[in-house]
């Protein structure tokens, strides 16, 4: 326990600097008959190096919120700060994004997919290759660089996606249900792998998912969003120690945390 307390103390000091600050964010869709409020008064702070998971019912706008953090969509009002500066357009140097399955370019090899963000900003060929190779090693795919996406399994494709998201070394990684299309076993393995990569790279991660088990297993903190209009209705600190192990899923603490989050979601759907 002493060890655990030390670790969390370390994290707390580490978390003083905010990687992402969302303040008073609202979003309204223009529809044929009037407007539809999609997100309502969302404020949240993600400390640097933290792993924050957002869960919520389908259509609550969690993906929209993530896209706004990535600068891919503009909110109606409110601000998003990343490293103290507002996010108004995609800034791959500050924020990397990992999308749902099948977002790899099928006409590029795994290595070329990982190099894509670097080639967009015309990085020298040598640097591109060196960074992409390092990322391939990091995600455990050394030797698979020449494969095309259709020659890779679902889990391997998402490893490539993660490598692509990390290749520019952004401090923040946004992940939009990256493992939703994987089978249960692969999904567990990938979650575990993601934690390994996260602890090796010291990134701040914001992760959207439907799976409560995944949420508790991965997160430092779980945010629950309500159905439309999406609001943040609960914030749960996951007190399980790091590194997480599969055995923890069978513990009472894990079960209670999962149950608590489930009750919050049930209240609003």
């Amino acid at each position: 326990m002493q060890h655990v307390a030390n670790l969390s103390g370390l994290r707390a000091t580490h978390a003083q600097a905010a990687a992402i600050e969302v303040a008073g964010l609202s979003h309204v869709y223009g529809a044929r008959e009037g407007t539809v409020p999609a997100l309502e008064d969302i404020s949240l702070t993600v400390g640097a190096g933290r792993f924050v998971v957002i869960v919520g019912p389908s259509g609550c706008g969690k993906t929209s919120l993530l896209m706004m953090m990535a600068g891919l969509r503009r909110q109606t009002s409110g601000t998003i700060l990343c490293a103290g500066r507002p996010i108004e357009m995609p800034d791959p140097g500050r924020v990397g994004v990992v999308f749902q399955e099948a977002s790899l370019f099928p006409w590029l090899t795994a290595l070329d997919n990982i190099e894509f963000p670097l080639s967009i900003r015309h990085a020298p060929r040598e640097e591109r290759r060196r960074r992409a190779d390092a990322m391939l090693n990091l995600v455990g795919l050394a030797g698979f660089g020449g494969r095309y996406p259709h020659e890779l399994s679902g889990g391997m494709k998402q490893r490539v996606s993660i490598a692509r998201g990390l290749v520019q070394d952004p401090p923040v990684l946004l992940m939009d249900e990256p493992f939703a299309a994987l089978d249960e076993q692969t999904r567990m393995t990938m979650g575990h792998e993601l934690l390994r990569i996260w602890s090796q790279t010291n990134k701040t991660v914001v992760f959207v998912t439907h799976s409560l088990t995944e949420a508790v297993y991965l997160a430092d903190e779980v945010l629950v969003m309500s159905a439309r209009p999406g609001r943040i209705i609960d914030r749960t600190e996951v007190t399980l120690p790091r590194p997480r192990t599969y055995e923890m899923m069978a513990t009472d603490v894990f079960g209670r945390l999962r149950e608590h989050i489930w009750q919050q979601i049930r209240k609003v759907t």
Binding site: L72, F99, Q100, A102, S103, F116, I120, R121, Y148, Q168
Partner: protein, 250 residues
């Protein structure tokens, strides 16, 4: 089946058809006046290729085909891309394009003759007209094949619109565009031939029509062989390129 065995079987099939062409008229199974033996046709092909009249006709037809193609491709691709990319334009014009596509183009040929006469311009105009609709349809399908997710990924890495175009649209669409090129050429060649055979003073189509009317079957078949070889060669070249650019399409 193993690849070598497959190729051998295909060659055997081709050889059988060619042998039947050679021997059935010679053995009296088919009327040699209607179907001259293959060897006679090939000999005639060599002979007519030497005639200046035929060489001129080939030049005229080739000119018509190339020009009609060069006109139809960019116009069709432009309209197709617009119809697929712009909701406004697409919603207005799409039904009209479908209607126009379904009408057989050959029924407009008399109109083209009235407007353009029976010269070079009429062949080019009619062939371009009969090709442009298939190009519009294929180009629209090519644009629609571009996945919104891929565009989003590129944008998230800070791609400019020019980069999205060259790094996402072009590679996504390339196999479809090559397919468009191939199918458009089939329509284009058909258009030129029909126009030449219907009313013309020059071109291979006109020669074929007149050889047919005068019952000069060896000449007629020689021209058929020539056109078939050219059409197949073009088609297969583009298909080969298509296969090379679309190994990722599964």
């Amino acid at each position: 089946m193993r690849r070598s065995a497959l190729i051998l079987t295909r060659l055997a099939l081709l050889a059988t058809i060619l042998a039947a062409w050679e021997w059935s008229p010679r053995m009296g199974l088919l009327n040699a006046a209607l179907l001259p033996p293959l060897s006679d046709v090939l000999a005639m092909l060599v002979s007519i290729l030497g005639r200046s009249q035929v060489q001129e006709a080939i030049g005229v037809t080739a000119g018509e085909v190339v020009l009609a193609f060069v006109i139809a491709m960019p116009i069709g691709a432009g309209i197709g891309v617009l119809a697929a990319e712009s909701d406004y334009f697409g919603q207005i014009f799409r039904p009209m394009l479908f209607y126009a596509f379904s009408i057989p183009k050959s029924i407009f040929l008399p109109m083209f003759i009235l407007v353009f006469g029976i010269g070079f311009q009429q062949k080019v105009a009619y062939a371009a007209f009969s090709t442009v609709f298939i190009v519009i349809m294929s180009a629209a399908a090519a644009v629609e094949s571009v996945k919104a997710d891929h565009v989003l990924v590129a944008r998230s890495y800070g791609a400019t619109w020019a980069q999205v175009l060259t790094r996402v649209y072009v590679p996504s669409m390339l196999p479809f565009l090559l397919e468009t090129l191939r199918i458009a050429m089939i329509f284009n060649l058909t258009g030129v031939m029909i126009a030449e055979m219907y009313a013309s003073r020059s071109g291979i189509g006109q020669l074929i029509a007149s050889w047919g009317e005068n019952f000069q079957m060896p000449q007629l078949f020689a021209a058929v062989v020539l056109l078939a070889v050219v059409a197949i060669a073009f088609n297969e070249t583009v298909r080969w390129l298509e296969a090379r650019c679309s190994t990722w399409r599964t």
